[in-house]
């Protein structure tokens, strides 16, 4: 068989997989982790009594599930409030991060001055500032948590986007130079598409960070119905299953955000390596 025919066959196969396997393949991929999850739950449920672990140290999944159902009203109010904080902070932080990235990528002097600072700032435990933002905006004000979240996501988004905008194949730049492309055209047609996968990587990190920032930020103060406050106050009065139920909700929120970004990435970047299903 000629090389061309082989390639054609491979391409056709890849296209078939892209079309038909879009959902089938994904569901099949979800089976192994689901099996592991169920196995862990079953083990957790039945081994605690055997090992003599006290209920208050680690409640059984069935108890947590019961608390989830029982506390439905409180938890849904809490999750809406905390999700708003996380999303608000996420939006502000990502927007500022992307804007700062474009500015630093555009002006070399700005990049040389700002990027090292940004990379260093990236390793600061920003959550430590939560008591400070409470003083600035008031602990009952969701803006206090949004500020924390925005600060937390700003740096990874900015640093990654700058990388994507600047780490471009030098030959691609020569190619654009050869057809006398303007800086604006190079930005639009080469740098921005090149930066998108980097941006999505940053967004995946940022979504997870946003829930952490919002919930942990609430540990330092917030309205009584916020998710973080709910966790600490329920634990304080020994209603551990309720605290656990709230933690499960916080996890679900983080995973939910992540999956949304993943889905958007799949649709927006069908060409990217991570979305190619070819076997080669």
């Amino acid at each position: 068989m000629s090389a061309e025919a082989l390639v054609e066959r491979r391409r056709a196969a890849a296209e078939r997989r892209l079309a038909a396997g879009r959902w089938g393949g994904r569901l099949r991929g979800a089976v192994p982790p689901l099996v592991v999850f169920i196995a862990v739950m079953v083990l957790w449920e039945f081994s605690l009594a055997a090992l003599g672990v006290q209920q208050f140290l680690l409640p059984r999944p069935s108890v947590i599930l019961a608390a989830l159902i029982d506390q439905q009203a409180n938890l849904s109010r809490a999750v809406v409030y905390t999700a708003t904080e996380a999303l608000g902070g996420l939006a502000i932080g990502c927007l500022l991060g992307v804007v700062a990235a474009f500015a630093t990528a555009r002006w070399l002097t700005a990049r040389e001055a700002l990027l090292p600072v940004a990379i260093a700032a990236n390793s600061i435990p920003i959550i430590a500032f939560a008591p400070i933002t409470n003083i600035w905006f008031g602990s009952e004000n969701p803006v206090s948590r949004m500020a924390i979240v925005a600060l937390m996501v700003f740096f990874p988004v900015m640093v990654n986007t700058v990388r994507g905008l600047t780490q471009v194949d030098p030959a691609a730049l020569e190619l654009m130079q050869a057809c006398a492309a303007s800086d604006w055209q190079i930005l639009r047609k080469v740098r921005v598409p090149n930066a998108l996968p980097y941006l999505f990587t940053a967004l995946k990190v940022a979504t997870t960070l946003s829930v952490i920032g919002a919930v942990v930020g609430e540990y330092f103060g917030g309205p009584r119905y916020a998710l973080g406050i709910y966790i600490t106050s329920e634990a304080y009065v020994f209603r551990y299953p309720n605290a656990w139920a709230a933690i499960v909700i916080a996890c679900a929120l983080g995973i939910g955000f992540y999956l949304v970004v993943l889905a958007v990435e799949r649709v927006a970047l069908p060409w990217h390596v991570s979305n190619r299903q070819a076997s080669s």
Partner: protein, 291 residues
């Protein structure tokens, strides 16, 4: 292919039709004692419709010379004119297409839209872009793959897309920097035949950098042999093989004679350029993530 624009700026050129005119060109990288002279005293004139290969050992500056013609790197000395204009003006006037060793296709664009990229930059209308990309893709025999993404193609096919892209706006000059260097021998020979077909059909002047002697002899109307450090033209060999070049060309006695002539020309000064010679890619300090 008819090219109405050709009657404009082109008509100012005298009948000799020098597409490339290099006089005393040189290029030095760096300054002071650490400076490296990549090219020195290059004189070369290329007529319309010629196929000229630049060949030489690693570090002879052949890729650098190609980039001087394309104004991707400025010359430190001498003058370079393309289509009768200074190289910089010719680049700004989009008078040449270029193909690199790596195909340099945008992963996020389909084959068709990759070919259209320079046309978009130049502000062609959507209809015109589509018409030209269709024409170019049939020229390189990839019409059926226009909606395919580059990563779904083989290396040879990707390089054909790059050629289609370089020719999409009918440039009078095509610069090629070891375009088939990363391909296996069999694919390379087939690509050589295809390139000959494209050259005949389009009448484009081609400057072709290679380190393969058989490739240079097979393709060219003239072979420019260069020496390393500093890069100089040591001989220009006219290739008087009959046109059109076909698979049989490689079996002609004259072909072997010419291959030997080029090899001997290279050997004359090639000794200094052997082991440890600075690769000109390294001189340009370009990331080499591809190949």
């Amino acid at each position: 292919m008819s090219e109405p624009i050709a009657n404009g700026p082109q008509s100012a050129i005298p009948p000799a039709q020098h597409v490339v005119e290099i006089v005393g060109a040189g290029r030095t990288f760096g300054r002071g004692p650490g400076a490296v002279t990549a090219l020195e005293g290059i004189d070369l004139t290329i007529q319309a419709g010629e196929f000229v290969s630049l060949i030489g050992p690693s570090g002879c500056g052949k890729s650098t010379l190609l980039r001087l013609i394309g104004d991707l790197i400025p010359a430190t000395t001498g003058s370079i004119r393309v289509n009768g204009k200074p190289a910089a003006a010719a680049r700004r006037g989009r008078e040449y297409g270029i193909v690199f060793q790596a195909p340099v296709l945008m992963d996020w664009r389909t084959v068709e839209r990759n070919v259209e990229l320079p046309l978009e930059v130049m502000g062609y209308t959507r209809e015109e872009r589509q018409r030209r990309s269709a024409e170019m893709l049939s020229l390189v025999e990839l019409a059926d793959f226009r909606r395919t993404y580059p990563w779904q193609l083989s290396g040879g096919m990707q390089q054909r897309v790059a050629i289609a892209r370089a020719l999409a706006f009918d440039p009078k000059l095509l610069l090629m920097d070891e375009p088939f260097g990363a391909l296996d021998e069999m694919t390379r020979e087939r690509m050589n035949l295809e390139l000959m077909g494209i050259w005949r059909r389009t009448g484009t002047t081609i400057v072709f950098v290679t380190h393969s002697i058989p490739e240079a002899v097979f393709l060219s109307s003239r072979v420019v042999v260069m020496s390393a450090r500093p890069g100089r033209v040591i001989r220009i060999i006219d290739v008087d093989l009959p046109q059109p070049r076909t698979a049989e060309t490689r079996e002609l006695e004259r072909y072997f004679e010419l291959v030997t002539a080029v090899r001997e020309a290279l050997r004359q000064r090639g000794d200094e350029g052997g082991a440890g010679a600075l690769d000109d890619a390294a001189l340009r300090i370009r990331a080499e993530g591809y190949a």
